[in-house]
């Protein structure tokens, strides 16, 4: 199997569908068709459309012709692309996921598509269409065999009999708090707004429906301004009731999701079980940890609670469920619970370092300047113009001053992290030895101040440290690279 091969000609159907999918992304190109005149449209349908069809069919055929692959003992190589040629080498041991799909048009011919996903990123998916089912199966098996040799365990979730080294259980009032803290339903509130607009007229309609009752007598005697007050109060009441209902539903959802939440640790194996209807079990091994985030929103802050999320790179999850399966959630933790859990994860006490205070005037002035220009254009002659201008500048500076106060960077031998927030707080930590890439960016104004932005990519996300002194940025970059190249053992 060591020579370059083309896939079966039946795979042309695959390339056809693939090209169609990509062509759909070009829909903005159709805008001139709508915007242009009748003459343009006629021209398009006479010459443009047939021409495009010919180009499309040609491109499908060429894509098929130039798609070649070679299977070697430990890797697969692909040559693809017509004008933009791509050569890709994928080592079997780096493959995170291998699955076989058999679309309806392949089934009568006994063909299949082998999909390979390289670690972590969906950017690096490879599909090899039109392989015979047996070859695809063989290839998948040999890739999995490679991985089995690399890792002794494939499954994340194991049943263990011994008592756990660490345990955390959440009672239902705690879980209900999560519903209060993360009210995803509030996102729907703007959708409700148009209905609220209808509220005042319907209240009025309801009041006029009371005609003939004693209440109506009372209303008739009241003045118009009193009526407006009444409608206002009832509307506010309805709004509050709607929000309360949203919170109530959100708490119910939290209870269904995380009922009887039980987190345990056996050695390096973390696992949680939770759920009211379907009990979900999710686990991860410590070496797969790619990022920890600890967040506390406004409500959580009032309730003195935290949420901790552990992310890993793409794992052996069913397709479509990848995003969710990458995250391991501890929904609610009080201060003591957080301290105990972070100790389990070997996170030390974090001493945050401030970034340069020039952050405040730079962003404060930039945003205020843009808003001022806008204001000057639309309301230069208004009597309140100077007052609003002053307000904009003060608010902008105050806002960025607050953001700066909340910003913190951290780096030690094991972790690199960022703390940010405004009212709430969010801490993101990456295991330093697992960093994927670092980047130092120096716009001219930062360069003049001896500052830089530093970004560190992990396999599950990125942290951006703004306004770091250039020497600190170099230092963190060098430390990170040093920890990465000396990191021993498995990292995903």
């Amino acid at each position: 199997m060591n020579e370059w091969r083309r896939v079966s000609p039946i795979a042309i159907i695959y390339f056809l569908f693939d090209s169609l999918r990509q062509a759909v992304n070009l829909w903005p190109a159709l805008v001139p068709l709508v915007a242009g005149g009748e003459g343009f449209r006629q021209l398009f349908f006479t010459f443009g459309l047939p021409g495009l069809l010919v180009v499309f069919v040609l491109s499908v055929l060429l894509h098929f012709w130039f798609f070649r692959f070679r299977i070697e003992a430990d890797r697969i190589q692909l040559h693809t692309g017509v004008f933009n040629r791509k050569r890709l080498t994928l080592y079997f041991e780096r493959v995170q996921q291998a699955d076989i799909a058999q679309p309806f048009y392949f089934r009568p011919f006994g063909l299949a598509t082998l999909g390979l996903e390289s670690a972590g990123s969906r950017q690096q998916e490879v599909d090899i269409p039109g392989l015979s089912f047996d070859v695809a199966q063989q290839l998948k098996d040999s890739i999995l065999a490679h991985q089995a040799a690399e890792q002794e365990t494939v499954a994340d979730v194991v049943e263990v009999e011994q008592p756990p080294d660490y345990e955390l259980h959440l009672d239902w009032p705690e879980v209900a708090r999560y519903g209060l803290m993360f009210n995803g339903l509030l996102l729907f509130a703007p959708v409700l707004a148009p209905f609220l607009d209808d509220l005042a007229p319907s209240v009025e309609a309801w009041i006029s429906g009371l005609e003939g009752t004693a209440a109506h007598e009372l209303l008739v005697q009241s003045t118009r301004s009193e009526l407006i007050w009444l409608v206002g109060v009832l509307s506010v009441f309805a709004l509050l009731a709607a929000i309360a209902l949203l919170f109530f539903i959100s708490m119910l959802i939290a209870l269904v999701r995380f009922w009887d939440y039980r987190l345990t640790r056996h050695g390096d194996q973390f696992q949680y079980r939770a759920g009211l209807g379907t009990v979900k079990t999710r686990g991860f091994r410590l070496h797969k940890l790619q990022q920890i985030s600890i967040s506390q929103g406004l409500v959580a802050r009032l309730l003195k609670r935290y949420t901790l999320t552990i992310s890993k790179a793409g794992s052996a999850a069913p397709v479509g469920d990848v995003e969710d399966s990458r995250r391991f959630l501890v929904p609610v933790l009080d201060r003591n619970g957080l301290t105990a859990l972070t100790a389990q994860l070997s996170i030390p006490t974090l001493r945050w370092r401030r970034v340069s205070p020039l952050y405040v005037p730079w962003y404060g002035a930039s945003v205020a300047f843009c808003l001022s220009v806008l204001l000057t254009v639309i309301a230069r002659d208004h009597q309140w113009y100077p007052v609003v201008l002053l307000f904009i500048w003060m608010t902008s500076f105050l806002y960025f001053w607050r953001r700066w106060r909340c910003l913190g960077i951290y780096q030690d031998d094991n972790w690199v992290g960022l703390c940010s927030g405004l009212v709430g707080r969010k801490v993101v930590l990456l295991p330093i030895g697992k960093a994927q890439k670092t980047s130092i960016s120096e716009p001219p104004w930062l360069k003049a101040w001896g500052l830089a932005h530093l970004s560190v990519w992990g396999a599950a996300g990125r942290i951006d440290m703004p306004f770091v002194s250039r020497s600190d940025a170099d230092d963190i970059r060098d430390q990170t690279l040093y920890r990465v190249v000396t990191f021993q053992g498995r990292w995903f």
């Binding site: 041991e93 670690a119 969906r122 390096d268 994927q436 690279l481």
Partner: protein, 189 residues
């Protein structure tokens, strides 16, 4: 027993900046020039299409076109040579770095043992200039790749082979640690 313990002069400690960074191929300037020219032609065509549709707009189309042309010439003669000069890469045993930008400097670093896979890409223009782009992918998902532009195709292939080999050596080096970790069941993050 005497231990080898020479004094260290702080001024002689090498930083990343002191390493021998490699310049990209000078033909990369031509590639950028053609790209820039294509963009300017597109822009001017768009402006004059508007003029065709609405002759009234000729008044501002001319100064705008002159402005675009002047900016283009400025970019070609002032920015572009600097851009090419400031695009440099550095491959060391354990890591790969890329520096770009004249005004807006950026330097990006990837450790060899985090590289997932490598790709050599070549557009039609690059092919005619015998240039290639080496793209290094890590597991960091979106935008976590590093692309070395303007490499002579042969250099790109050699870099790719070298990095692949280093990545493999890295993996075989990590093996003993892996065994040790499995034996005592200790947690290595």
């Amino acid at each position: 027993m005497r231990v080898f313990n020479p004094p260290v002069n702080p001024a002689q400690i090498r930083t990343l900046e002191d390493e021998p960074w490699q310049a990209v191929n000078p033909r990369y300037a031509f590639q950028l020039r053609v790209h820039l020219l294509g963009f300017v032609v597109f822009l001017l065509a768009a402006i004059w299409l508007v003029v065709l549709a609405e002759p009234e707009s000729r008044r501002w189309a001319l100064p705008l076109s002159v402005f675009v042309a002047v900016v283009f010439l400025g970019l070609i003669f002032i920015w572009l040579p600097r851009r090419v000069r400031h695009t440099r890469y550095l491959l060391r045993e354990l890591d790969l770095h890329l520096k770009t930008g004249v005004m807006w400097r950026r330097s990006t670093s990837v450790a060899i043992n985090r590289i997932q896979h490598l790709e050599i890409t070549q557009g039609p223009l690059e092919r005619s200039l015998d240039l290639s782009r080496l793209v290094v992918y890590t597991a960091g998902g979106m935008k976590s790749d590093l692309a070395l532009p303007g490499l002579q195709s042969d250099t790109a292939r050699r870099l790719k082979m070298r990095i692949l080999k280093s990545a493999q050596d890295e993996d075989s080096l990590a093996e003993p640690a892996l065994d040790r970790e499995q034996r005592d069941g200790s947690a290595a993050r």
